[in-house]
Subunit: 318 residues, 4 copies
């Protein structure tokens, strides 16, 4: 990896709140550009510190290359350099990830986000070779995305710090759900002079992650309430932990929207709830999901509306 | 469950720091009573709020009934009512757990701690029946012990609160490693009027658990450094989060002792490291483990000593 | 292990069909001795080669020590030496397993069956020490019970053969669901001179296991149709594979009874279906399950009756 | 799915032995066309019944689109209609799979092979929609590939038969390692009039799968010894089970090559061993693996040669 030229949008700005932006669709399943523009405008207004396109919340695994391209082009064009943009380059193995890096770099992005190899089983040797090859191929900083629920492998703190020392990676997005390991990673990172920027992906325990040493968050729920995450981040920077906790508790209550769908799992429930909330808030035109997922319908929508109201979001929007 | 008469040692005192005490052994594998007495004295001196005997850290799964009896008798006798004592009644299924409850209640204990059924696969119906049957059989408060790494089942927040509403359980010891679920449990508990006392078992992220709403901790590492956990707890009660974090970071560094053994997993590594540390600190006579585990030997002992020194414990002791 | 004196009932007779006998209960949850006697009589009439008491199908994990004792006494007394009897000594760790061995050996049993340690996480070192300690403590042959769905650990072929070479174990009951590993175990066993007797616990693929090198089976479904398993075994010995396959297909169709309960998992579904079938066949008085499980009721019973009829069992019985 | 015109190479011929062909590479990591031609020639000579390109053994998850295209072109061109060719269209979700179908259909293939969605978590609803969408999009028969070790989801027999009834799929490649479920699938398929062709992917238990009702196999090891699998298949068709078993035992001994590498997992061990064997047999020029995997080196190569000799393969080749 050659470190990108240091501009206003360089990787060192990527602390704070970096929501993994959703991909709004028309009823026909096409990219809904106006909805995406509204989503981004609302994020920037709230003061987010960056945006992460083509992440799991953006349904990245569902898109063919043309759609990935269109999403990234729209996000980068709409953000227009106001905050850094990270691009997911999620794919099964090294060659394919590097192909996505090549495409993503055609846009003015500030970093790429890659997981360990998946589908085929690999071990530590392959994981190391994989990230080193991506780091060498990329001209922008590389973030390691630790998401065992999708990749079925946990990145070890020791290996992440080796990769940082080798210049292969610049940060970690931790969606491992393993707060014990995250604390170890943060401690080892500090002991090594903080070569890695650490962001947590777990919406409801960002406060604890800040105490552990997180530099920020990549909250899917930040699509729905970016201002709340920004307030929490600023309070954490100021050492105002009571505000951090209060804001986190409010956001955790809002997160209950993802438990409302019945008979749905994974992104059909979680991303589906975020899309439904944004439709109810007037940001999205539909709550359409990518094939093969169906949108949330029926009583769950009403329950989501109630939760949005209780969180103080719905009245403001309507 | 009939709530025990409210004395100085009732269940409501069980907030704060409740270490799961280890079971020191002689070189021959017998209970080492003098070492256990020293361990308990050191706990009480440090100001712990309770003690949990016959937990996973106490190697409960390894002992036959006679040894369980002897351990509990020694602990209760030594503590002599100075703090509440919880007794683990860990066993595979309901009948067997209730048999342990009957035995444990012969001693002056303040609560029992039971897991969901294990070995045989069960579902929510059986888990509910199990805890209700234990709650009815016990004359002291019942704590649900959520430890999926051993039981291979995660207790759901919704079910725990139902069990609380039914009077079957009074608290939860959460060793699930799932901070997202713990936050939900804490929020639902608060919304229900806090019928449950919530203790976390994860030594290195107690600070985040306090933010989430934990009432205290059951830290295995508290065997080695009870004073540190007590300081952290008092700081959390006072809202002094910088002290909480500093103390937690120091304890997290100390926890690295469990990663020093090579080729060991589970309690052979973790409890083995605690026992080795306590031997080096002069509290235990040996670091002997229960059959079929072998004690930690070789270079790992030196590395554990170094970590103890860095945490400021070894010089104080020697 | 001291090899037991070679009698008519020694371990070498334990090939063929060795059903893991169920534990019938009265409506009040007490051992139903007449039903157990009818069950055993039906097994012996069918020509089974042995019986396995206190296995998973016998709900062993649910019983306290007094009930284990009563079950074993009744089984051994009823069998009265007509076929060998194995006794399960299932418990969490070594000391407790050895305590069960001591109790079991008070009866005229022909072997004990032990799993690897469970609840506490252990590794290969502890598994080896565990079985060696049991082997030394037992005066009858020891069988290793490989059941990862309960124990959450797979016994490795290499280690099983080392344990055989050391005289610690005499056979394996394989309920691992891993036919690839079973083939390897069988091949390695043959190459080593067949020190181990290999029995499979998977009711619907016993035919394939025979091809792989199994010496017999321990089929839970054999409680319902012992004659079918005996016919299949005799055909396999005779090299009549078409009969083996036909019989296996018929038994696999019968096994569908375990998929009829709705909302039940584990033994509540599987053992529950066997008990319900035996009640419908007039062998058991009830289909009561151990606490905390409830019996199968409602429409599922009718579906089980239909399957019994289709397998040619119900008319014969009524 | 529109059923392809019935030619000599139609899907109904896809019984018997259909090896998932490897992708030989030059030392530089490019497709080694001469080695691939030799591999295919050796397969055809041995009398295989079909070939499966771009499967897991073909390292499909590692290739970008250009390499997939080149592999498929070479395979189809070399086979030249002598046997049917299936093409893997493995990718994370529906849109991407369909994109691969479009590309694959440009070649004279006889079917495509797709897994359930992976990376993003999905449930039965999404799995059904996924296969139905693929079935509609494809002009050739669609095979469902059940490989939970990669996809982390098990396809249920009931759903597979629904998909068959709807005309979405024509067969199943079962690499689930779950022989109990396979027996159920085979029985349900037979009861439904055998709408599905069932192939097993487990090299060492093909004999048991034949007894269960498999129509054939897709053995990775068939790359190394296609003649052995063909002999076993012909014996099974003739009901000569002793020959089936003997041949399977010989092949299972040969399969031990995959356990020789030290410190390697997944395809780096398994496919790596097959490639190493084929290099030692003079079929491949190298044993190079795709990035990020390294080839097998050192003592393991000698051990693989020994096993090849013992299986009677090496002398014949050199």
């Amino acid at each position: 990896m050659t470190t990108a030229s240091t501009t206003a949008a360089d990787a060192t700005r990527l602390r704070g709140v970096v929501p993994p932006i959703l991909t709004p669709l028309t009823a026909e399943g096409e990219l809904d550009v106006p909805s995406l523009e509204r989503l981004i405008a609302r994020q920037l207004e709230a003061g987010v510190d960056g945006l992460f396109a083509l992440g799991s919340s953006g349904e990245v695994a569902f898109w063919d290359d043309a759609m990935r391209e269109k999403i990234l082009e729209t996000v980068v064009g709409t953000v227009a350099g106001q905050v850094p943009v990270l691009a997911g380059v999620i794919d099964t193995e090294t060659h394919r990830v590097i192909a996505h890096v090549r495409e993503a770099e055609k846009h003015a992005i500030d970093g790429v986000v890659a997981t360990a190899p998946f589908y085929a089983i690999t071990g530590p040797e392959e994981v190391g070779t994989h990230f080193r090859a991506i780091g060498e191929a990329a001209s922008v900083p590389v973030w390691a995305y630790d998401i065992p629920v999708c990749v079925h492998l946990k990145l070890a703190a020791e290996q992440l710090l080796e990769l940082a020392a080798d210049g292969a990676i610049t940060g970690v997005k931790d969606s491992s759900g393993d707060d014990v390991s995250f604390r170890r990673l943060a401690a080892k990172n500090r002991a090594a002079g903080s070569p890695l920027t650490l962001l947590t992906g777990h919406e409801v325990v960002v406060d604890g992650a800040y105490l552990s040493g997180a530099d920020g968050s990549v909250p899917g729920l930040g699509n729905v309430d970016p201002a709340g995450y920004v307030r929490m981040d600023r309070a954490a920077r100021a050492g105002d932990w009571e505000t951090v906790r209060t804001e986190q508790d409010r956001l955790a209550a809002l997160m209950e929207i993802v438990f409302q769908p019945v008979g749905k799992v994974g992104p059909a429930a979680g991303v589906g709830a975020f899309k439904t909330a944004l439709r109810e808030l007037g940001v999205f035109s539909t709550n359409t999901m990518s094939l093969p997922m169906s949108p949330i319908e029926g009583d769950a929508v009403g329950r989501i509306r109630t939760i949005l109201s209780e969180a103080g979001l719905l009245d403001a929007a309507r």
